[in-house]
Symmetry: C2
Subunit: 191 residues, 2 copies
């Protein structure tokens, strides 16, 4: 009943994700519809479903890369030739910076309640947390226990979650983030 597009460019997962990403970054998961993505690319909405099984899979494909980016960021900080305490603070502030410069991504990575999305998350959050926890253990020379490590994560999460919600950018709250991290930092050493 319906023709097929002339072949100037076939759709690929890459092309779709590229279009989806820019919409996603500015508008967030809920305000981006499959139809808008298709319209932006000049295709019908049905074609998206040939490449992705549903909206959740498409957006998880974007977010999967963000887990890699976060993991890589942690690795880079660890690879710096700096004193352990400097690197430790860099890890803490780095996590906040990541969260606030990819707010809509962070939301899906660590904040969504959507069951459909969660079904795609797999081990992404766990793996990133493992990296984070290892970094803390290493840099503190094992002086902090798992309970404290987890608590530090939750504290950072609280900061990111709040400023995600308020919509402020990282550069707006850099100073706050630094003193927040300082409080966490000193309380880590005390334990």
């Amino acid at each position: 009943m319906a023709p097929r597009k002339a072949v100037n460019q076939e759709l690929t997962r890459e092309i779709i994700m590229e279009a989806a990403r820019t919409l996603f970054v500015t508008d967030g998961y809920r305000n981006v519809s499959i139809r808008k993505i298709a319209a932006k690319l000049g295709y019908s909405h049905g074609s998206i479903y040939y490449h992705f099984q549903n909206k959740a899979e498409l957006f998880y494909a974007l977010v999967e890369r963000d887990f890699s980016a976060l993991n890589q960021k942690l690795d880079e900080i660890l690879a710096q030739r700096n004193p352990a305490d400097v690197k430790l603070q860099a890890v803490l502030i780095g996590f906040i910076e990541f969260g606030l410069t990819h707010q809509n991504h962070y939301e899906i990575m660590f904040l969504t309640k959507d069951e459909e999305i969660k079904s795609f998350l797999n081990q992404g959050p766990n793996k990133s947390y493992e990296k984070f926890a290892n970094a803390l253990q290493t840099l503190s020379e094992k002086t902090i226990n798992v309970q404290t490590t987890w608590s530090v994560f939750l504290m950072l999460h609280g900061f990111v979650a709040h400023y995600c919600q308020s919509g402020q950018q990282f550069h707006d709250v850099r100073g706050l983030a630094e003193s927040y991290v300082n409080i966490i930092f000193t309380s880590m050493l005390a334990s």
Copy 2:
């Protein structure tokens, strides 16, 4: 074109809110539709809009009471005849308990990005935070500054936000919450 319901019971905001609340508590904002609420009450969906201007207003009306409940909870803790440090810990754990026993409410109170909902929030979150901050200031005998107070809030928020997302109940994480609060508590005194 359409008749009007026989008069066994006229709809009121109260009745609607009551029906909405039970659905809301179990299913969350996004999974509760105006149509489901109306169906549960045996009315047409249009009738809801006579009593509430839209979905956001209806659910904010529910959440408004939760701000009162939270404020009241804080007042009750402050009114206890206990040492200040005991009350201080009760405030911290009380906030977490509140958040995790009203997860879908907490989400709208402190976690939503939905602009329509935010437009109804007004001073609700600020007012509750003021109460919380005052409690901290009073109970710590002014030894903590505003920056620390705000940080303590963000830390608690992180705990609640995470376990809201994971869907666990307060009684499942009571132990964790207590040690988390202890870490915060000792770091407060250190500052």
